[in-house]
């Protein structure tokens, strides 16, 4: 089942008088349960591609369909609602809300969805335990290490039960051990909950774990490899 369909996607930035084709006609599909990495050098267009998949940026042309819904048809609060209920985000620099605890950060999106306290508590506890932070639920981000913060960010991304998670360079600020732990957690969640993960990354450790590796250069897909055991 296709969760994401990308059709001839183009993004052109007008920088001064020069047009920059950040994404130049990409067509891709992602199936439910994929664990995919988009790789490529800096400026290759992988973050721009991820932003357009997540509805954070508008394409110049082409289309992104999430579960059959064209993102370009959604505007304003409809688009925000759609992101809330269908897409989880993990950012490079964690971006947790500093005034909320790990538990409150995780359940934040569920609160936005209007879930009741009982439901929020149960899911939050389950997620934070699964990312190994069952004992640090009441700690604020400032009291957590970078790796722990990114694990809370993963728990937050999954709290709303999204169709897929977009992670933009999730390990870029982490040391080896934290990267290893984070990747193991995401892989486990991917296998156990069948959630689709799409990463943009430079990190060879992420590429090694991914079951599908899409290489982008100059805004175009130059290779799309599925490893053994891939979907």
């Amino acid at each position: 089942m296709k969760v994401i369909e990308i059709k001839d996607l183009v993004k052109i930035y007008n920088e001064s008088e020069v047009k920059v084709h950040a994404v130049n006609g990409i067509t891709l599909d992602f199936e439910q349960g994929e664990f995919a990495a988009i790789v490529g050098p800096s400026g290759s267009g992988k973050t721009t591609l991820l932003n357009m998949i997540g509805g954070l940026d508008d394409p110049t042309s082409g289309e992104v369909l999430v579960d059959g819904t064209a993102m370009s048809n959604l505007k304003g609060s409809d688009l925000t609602d759609f992101r809330l209920n269908n897409i989880g985000f993990v950012f490079q620099s964690y971006n947790l809300i500093p005034v909320l605890t790990a538990k409150e950060n995780t359940e934040f999106v569920m609160r936005l969805q209007g879930k009741n306290s009982k439901e929020c508590d149960a899911r939050t506890e389950e997620l934070l335990k699964s990312v190994g932070l069952g004992e640090r639920m009441n700690a604020r981000p400032a009291k957590l290490s970078g790796g722990q913060q990114q694990r809370v960010a993963v728990a937050r991304a999954l709290a709303s039960k999204p169709k897929f998670v977009l992670a933009d360079e999730p390990t870029a600020n982490l040391d080896s051990k934290s990267t290893e732990t984070l990747l193991d957690i995401m892989e486990k969640l991917n296998r156990e909950e069948n959630i689709t993960f799409v990463f943009s990354t430079h990190d060879a450790r992420v590429v090694n774990k991914a079951r599908r590796v899409i290489t982008v250069e100059d805004g175009k897909v130059i290779s799309d490899e599925r490893k053994n055991g891939g979907e």
Partner: protein
Amino acid sequence: MAWRNIWRNRRRTIITAASIFFALFFAIIMRSFQLGTYGHMIHQVIESYSGYLQLQSPDYFDEPGLDNAFEYDQDLLNRINSNPGVKIAVPRVESFALASIGAKTKGVLVNGIDVEKEAELSNPQKNLVHYRFLSAVMDAVYAIPELTEDQKTNLKMYENASFSSLDKIGMNCGISDETILQKIGELTAFNGSYLQASDEGVLVSDRLSKFMQLNIGDTLVLMGTGYHGASAAGLFPVRGIIKIPSPELDNKLVYMSLPRAQEFFGMENMLTTLAINLNDKSTMSEVQQELTNQLDKNAYVVKNWQEFNPVLKQSIEGDNAGGIVFAAILYVIVFFGIFGTVLMMIAERKREFGVLIAIGMKKRLLMSIVLIEMFFIGTLGTVVGMLIVSPLIYLGNKFPIRLTGETAKMYEDMGYEAVMPMATFDAYFWWQAMIVLLMVVVASYFPLKSIRKLKVIKALRA
């Protein structure tokens, strides 16, 4: 979340709340002094002397004089008193005469009063002088052994002054010891008496009595022009001395009973004015209109204090406008302080706003949180400001500041008692709080607008 957010940058929140606190504090204190002083002026001049309304003959307003007096009877009084807004109507005959004793002569304002009713309006009896610090007795006063040097210095400042009570002596000279006050009272006693209903005598104002060197029991000669040019002359024993707060009036006022004044001026059953006080001063315009409609327009006219005392009205309005401009300047400065904080907050949190919208928070909800944050900061400054300023207002109202030196002299020269009371808690107090909160809301407009226009992708790159 909003509450926690405001404490993220504790120092900034405290500085912003403090700027709101100081603006509110100074604005309330300033307005309270202003309104308190106006209230005191109105109380001194209007409520305690002229009344909020005055009934006159139609020509009296332009040409005040005995020839423009009006007929006064019980029926007229009943009609006025039947208005529920009227507290009391006090009949008066006012005119000028020449006062003389020995070689001293001076123009005086003769005020014929209904002795009993006047007690409920200007109440001259409360100003009756009971103690006088005459030079002849002050050496004995300074010799009271219990007096401190400071108290002696204070007493010297009031040499030749007159007082209506020991409390006033105590308050002015900083003496609280009852025994000392009693001793001073015994040495400086001055035994005048108030007028009887049809008294043949007069009360003379303090400064006038000093100028004329009048004492209790002396006979004052009054001469003047009566009703329709008749000559008016008479001999009037001095029953008492009264101290009028307004120095201008204190220099020239002579009180006599209404029947005696009518007889002196040859105008039985006639009045120059009927001073009216109200149960509620805010009903002044309504009562004025009702009385005007009720009475014969050809025979009577009802004027309010702003019409018959435009000088007081204009001086209050002028000073009030200055106060409002000053408060506005204060608020503009504070507004830009709050606005600066808001701009800084937005710049610092742009990326965070982008993340919140990216993960599914609607802009409307985000705007509400930011507005609540600003509201919390505004409320914090406002509530602390009001809590701290409230006891000061209470004390300033109950125990007004008594001015001294040149400032006091300036007040007295203008005809007002040299005190600066603060206005009690009234609409102005709550308005200052409303203005501050309104400023916070206006200052929040920019962040709310920038959130509404926020491009998520740009915010995430911030």
